[in-house]
Each structure stands twice: as C-alpha cells, then as structure tokens.
C-alpha cells in the first residue's frame, strides 16, 4: 500500500448545473406580506402537483437560534450581525435549498442575498467584500420584489407589530427615537433594494394591491418557469 493521500481539494461551492428544480425568491421590506404570499404560492403550486419547499434564513439550524439570541442582547456589532446572517443563509442554502433543487422541487425562499447585503452595506460593509462573501450563492430563477414605500410600511407596522429595535436600525441610531430611526433605516433599505432591482432584473410587484390581486400576479410570474405536467 502506498502513502495515504493528502485531502483532495474539494469544491465548497456546488455548481448549480446539476439542479433541475426552480428557485424563486421573494424579496421586500419587513412586514410587507412576504410570508403570506409564499404561503399562497405554495398552496397554488401543490394543488397543481409541484413539490414545494419553503425556507428562510431565520430557519437555519446552525445559526437561527444563536442569531435570535444575539439580537435579544445589548451588544451585536454590524459586522458580526452581517456574518451571522451570512452563516444562516449558507446553512439554509446547503441544507434545504440545494438538495431540494437537485430533487426537482420548487423552492420558495423568503429573502435572499440581496436584502442581507443591503442591511450589511448600511452597517458599513464594503460592497465588493459582500459580493465576494456571497459568491457561493447561485442566481435564482426568479426574484420577485414586493415593493412598497416607507409611508405604507409605517402604517402597516403601526397597526400590527409596532416598531422593532432592529427593523428600525436602532443599532445605528439613525434618529432620535424608534419612529425616526425606522423611517430613515427602512428608507435606506428600500433605496438599496430598488438599486438592486434594476441591476439584477427583479420582477417588481406593488405590494400595496389587495392580497388576491398580488397573488395572481405572483402566480403569473412563476407559471412560465414550471415543468409542464
């Protein structure tokens, strides 16, 4: 027997060339109804006989709980938060998304690298650095951007969850109080997502319409991507 071999250089990034599923991403601001629409799309797809996996970064087994705990504390730096999210995202991608795509599922992912990069950039991360950090993520087949404006977000939030510390960017102290900081922070996020929308050809859907009308639009966007049965 010869000498044992040194580890082979393995590719950490699996090329998506073997995948035959469909990756659909829903992007948009906090509390804009992303999960409602993912839920509706899932039911519609399953009724038509497509296998569906829905997932989000928050579900990461490796980092989800840790991230939640870290956000509950009083000290989480911008860089640390950005990398914690990148870990959670990579975990979901490798654990849920890639296997499901290989098995031919339609994967509905609540948010993708875009909003994670936007929130990291607002916290001072360099754009080129972020792009390279997230270079392991495959390009989705379709990115739907549920678009709104800050006024609509405010009226939504004020009547539901109230103003959350992180969703108001209070770690950055962009205003004197939660409300002022929320308006400034969400405004910056929207500006960043809008810029990405034209660059990466998101399908922009006005989130202000009634739920059924938005759901119909989403179905018409997803339908052409599906395997015909």
């Amino acid at each position: 027997m010869g000498q044992p071999q040194r580890p082979r250089r393995r590719l950490a990034v699996v090329a998506p060339s073997t995948s035959k599923g469909t990756l659909v991403v829903i992007e948009g601001a906090d509390d804009i109804g992303r999960s409602t629409h993912i839920h509706l799309l899932k039911h519609w797809l399953e009724r038509s006989g497509h296998g569906v996996v829905e997932t989000s970064t928050a579900q990461s087994v490796v980092a989800g709980k840790g991230l939640k705990k870290a956000r509950a504390g009083h000290m989480l730096g911008g860089l640390t938060m950005s990398l914690f999210y990148a870990t959670a995202f990579a975990d979901q991608l490798e654990r849920d998304v890639k296997p499901a795509l290989r098995a031919g599922f339609v994967v509905l992912m609540d948010r993708y690298t875009y909003s994670l990069m936007a929130s990291a950039a607002i916290r001072g991360a360099d754009a080129q650095w972020l792009k390279r950090v997230y270079s392991f993520a495959p390009t989705p087949d379709l990115v739907i951007y549920l678009r709104t404006n800050v006024d609509a977000l405010v009226s939504r939030v004020v009547n539901t969850t109230g103003f959350n510390y992180w969703e108001s960017g209070m770690d950055l102290r962009l205003g004197d109080d939660l409300f002022d900081s929320f308006v400034e922070y969400q405004g910056r996020l929207l500006t960043a997502l809008d810029a990405m929308a034209s660059k990466h050809r998101f399908h922009v859907v006005d989130a202000a319409g009634n739920v059924d009308a938005v759901a119909d639009t989403l179905q018409s966007l997803v339908a052409p991507l599906l395997v015909r049965t």
């Binding site: 580890p7 705990k69 650095w129 950090v133």
Partner: protein
C-alpha cells in the same frame, strides 16, 4: 470598512498560530506572564470564544451540521464579534492584545477543507493586521504525540473527520493537519509570519518570542498593577 493592513492603532497585537499540539498556547501563556512582570497589561482573546457565537458553533459541531462553507462563516462570525467587541477597542486605546489563533487559522483550516483560498482571505479582510504573528512549526506526528490525553482529546473536526479522509481518527488527523501545515507554510511569506521551531525546547522558543516582542513594544504605555501601586504608595507614604 477598513481592510487588513489599513488600521493604524497605538496598541500592539501579538498572535500565535500553529496546529493543535504545536505548543503555541503554552508559549503565549509564558509571554503573558512576562509582559505582566514587565508592567504591561494585556488582554487575551481566544479563537472561537465569542459569547454570542460560540454556543451556536459548539452545538453545530456536536451535531455535525457544518459544511466547509458554514464552518468557515461561523468561525469568521465569532472572529468578527471578538474584533468589534474586544480587539479593536483595546488596540485603539493603546492596549496589548494577545490572540491564540487568528484569521490565519481560518485560512489554513478552511482551505484544507476545500474552501477557496481567495474566498476565505476576502472573508477575513476586516481583520486587524497583527504587530507580530508567530507560527509554531512542528511535524504532525510530534504534535499528535503532544496532544494531552491522546486520541480522546482529538475532536471530530480537528481531525478533519468531516472530509472522510480515513475512518481512523489518528490517521485522519495526520492527513488533515498535514494539509493545514501546507497552508501555514505558504502563509509564512504571504503574511510575514515569524516561524518558530516548535521542536526546540520550551525555554529556547520563549527567548526567541520575547526578543521579537520586546523590540515591538517601544512606546507602549505600561499599566502596572493597581494593587502594586497602592502597596508602594503605602510603603512610601507611611513614616517608618
């Protein structure tokens, strides 16, 4: 975001690197003692010890949930927290920081796991460049023999068992750490690591380390021990 090499802080950052069993932690502990005796306050930062992140890492390792990419990212997250919370503020304040393992550990291990060399270097680009980074060079068999407790003390990931190089723990350790050593060797020139022959006596290595550190300490404020100050004040202030 300032990149590696772009920070200019009044403090000093001394780092030890090398595979498990290279003796680097022993050397750093001896250095810490000496610095204290010389009147320098130091802060010690250990790899994988962020209060925000280490629990998630430990649990994921225990359940063997990590891929090369998530392994790399979660360690970078831990490092980012310690950089933001501990290392940068102290260096800005002129303190002396000692780190047991640094970004180079990420470069060595993650590349040995198959992660791209350029990708992981970019990932840690926010790292503050150390004043001096020591690399303790040791043959893998010698390191293995030094690991106290033998094979029970070797962890699954440290042996690279996730790469399925061998079903035997010790053999896998040698193969994986051999690849880690290859990465360290290429970093000696790339990052100007100060290589120390870790096969030499503990005393000889420490002398070498202290020489290098001493010449890098010019201009650093000594903090002294508060207890000592008050004791000497008492001794000097009271009439005999």
């Amino acid at each position: 975001m300032k990149a590696y090499g772009e920070h200019h802080f009044p403090g000093r950052l001394f780092v030890v690197e090398g595979i498990d069993g290279s003796g680097k932690s022993t050397q750093l502990a001896l250095l810490e003692q000496w610095l204290a005796a010389e009147g320098y306050g130091t802060f010690f930062s250990e790899w994988n010890s962020s209060p925000l992140v280490q629990h998630a890492t430990r649990s994921a390792k225990k359940k063997r949930l990590l891929t090369p990419t998530t392994f790399s990212l979660i360690h970078a997250t831990d490092f980012a927290d310690r950089t933001e919370r501990d290392i940068t503020p102290r260096l800005k304040a002129g303190g002396v920081v000692l780190a047991d393992r640094y970004a180079y550990t990420g470069f060595a291990r993650d590349v040995a796991r198959g992660v791209g060399r350029a990708w992981v270097r970019n990932l840690y680009r926010f790292a503050v460049k150390p004043t001096v980074a020591f690399y303790f060079r040791v043959p893998v068999k010698k390191a293995l023999a030094r690991i106290v407790g033998g094979r029970d003390a070797i962890s699954y990931y440290e042996a690279g068992m996730d790469l399925h190089l061998s079903t035997d723990l010790e053999e896998s350790f040698c193969l994986f750490q051999g690849a880690v050593i290859d990465e360290y060797e290429r970093m000696v020139d790339e990052f100007g690591l100060v290589a120390i022959d870790a096969s030499a006596s503990i005393e000889a290595q420490q002398v070498q380390m202290r020489d290098v550190v001493a010449s890098a300490l010019a201009g650093v404020r000594k903090s002294g021990h508060p207890e000592w100050d008050s004791l000497s004040a008492l001794a000097g202030g009271s009439p005999s």
